[in-house]
Amino acid sequence: MIELKNITKYYGDFPAVTNISFKIEKGEIVGLLGPNGAGKSTIMKMITGFMPPTNGELSVGGYDIVTQSIEARRKIGYLPETVPLYTDMTVYSYIEYMGLLRGLNKKNIKSKVDNVIEICKLEDYRNSLISKLSKGFRQRVGISQAIIHDPEVLILDEPTIGIDPNQVVETRQLIKNLSGEHTLLLSSHILPEVSSICERVLIIHEGEIAASDTIKNLSSLMSGKNKIEADIIGSPQSIVTELEKINDIKSVEFSINKSSSEFSTFTIETEVNSDIRSEISKIIINNGWGLIRLQSIGMSLEDIFLQITTSE
């Protein structure tokens, strides 16, 4: 549905996005994750046809975004980061105008707007001026304009930024409900948001894709290869000195177990791509200590995110 081939975007001399390629299939829900300034919004602005890439090919629904821009744009519903609203219009007339701009028919516009107002739970504010609405409601009006024309592709740039926690929960629920019918690309720097809504994550770091996989795969890829927990009977100090001799180990920490003084719990941090559990067990047995538990700890998306975006 969305395809980027070697996309690069320069702002003047500054490369905001460098050589990015990815593909989003119909019906997929994908999260663009990255710290502020990573290039997420730039990628979205290019996909929606707001600005063309400096280099590379970009197509939406099979239409090239530069040469067949109008056809491609017809397929897209877009909510930019700063929710763009005509504050002097009422909720109804704003959504209606945006629907007509996106090519909806005058005849059935009313039922469409009513439907969207219901989906976004804006019934009570139908005829309110947008300038009188709170931020959370404005966000919903913003989402309404993005879905009014039933777009095949829905692009939401930081949809929950700046609204209060209750409304965040509601907005996320709303997005989740929408996801069934649309191909959805969502950007965020909030991890739980992406992990709760999206099936696949693209982690963007300094204008490049740092990782791209399903959330499940990402966690399993990372987990266990990074942190190991072990319960060992023996003198903690000498265990630490022995373990630190292993090449791939970055650090070893221990804590005395309070419930049982027999063993101590060790947290061992290792290089990302090595599994040294067998080596650890060998050393323990050779030294005559007692191995009670040796376990790799899964990483939360947050750990992965931090790891990917802070490494190098």
Partner: protein, 241 residues
Amino acid sequence: MRNIILITSKEIKTYFASPMAYIVGGMFLGLTWLFFNTSIVPGESNPITESNVRGYLEPTTLLFIIFSPLITMRLFSEEEKLGTLELLLTSPVKDWEIVMGKYLASTVILISTLLCTFFYVILISIYSTPDFGPLLSAYLGIILYGIATLGVGVFASSLSSNQIVSAVVGIVILLLLSFLDSLGAMIDGIPSTIFNEIALNYHYGDFTKGVIDIRNIVYYLSTASVFLFFTIVILQMRRWR
């Protein structure tokens, strides 16, 4: 065409929903009323003639220097400030349709305000029997003059997200364009002709004499077109930036 009408009607609605419309419109009508009054020479046996139309319409052209940028200043500046320009530019609407839609809205507003001054024509018709030829041609001229100044105003609006800046830029460009003929009068030769031909005022005189010269019509329409073209270029530069 559908998109243009859609944008035009939205802009007209927004304009008349704001107090700005009535302040600007009231100011315009108040000043033209003043011009109308001063153009009547008291004590003459037939105090009102068709020359009075010229009397108030000629200074009215100068009013457009301020009036037009005040109508057009929000057209693009506001969109940029609210961020809605991004929505507009990502909607399946062509850039020139956006520009035309907004421009047409401003011409509708200007012409409808101008139609209010037809009240003076009614007054003139009551108290005398004016020659409607020059009267109507003077009105045609002033509408064309207005259309050209609105083109400049729309262009100025696309330059900044600040409405005041847009209005000032528009006024400055219009001042230059209006008084080029005074500059032309000070020099001679080809530069003088060029200055005259570019000047907005230079082309208006014929209309008040009842002369409809196709060259003058072409001048005003092409001035508007040139600035609207510049506006489209500015919008596209925004994309390529």
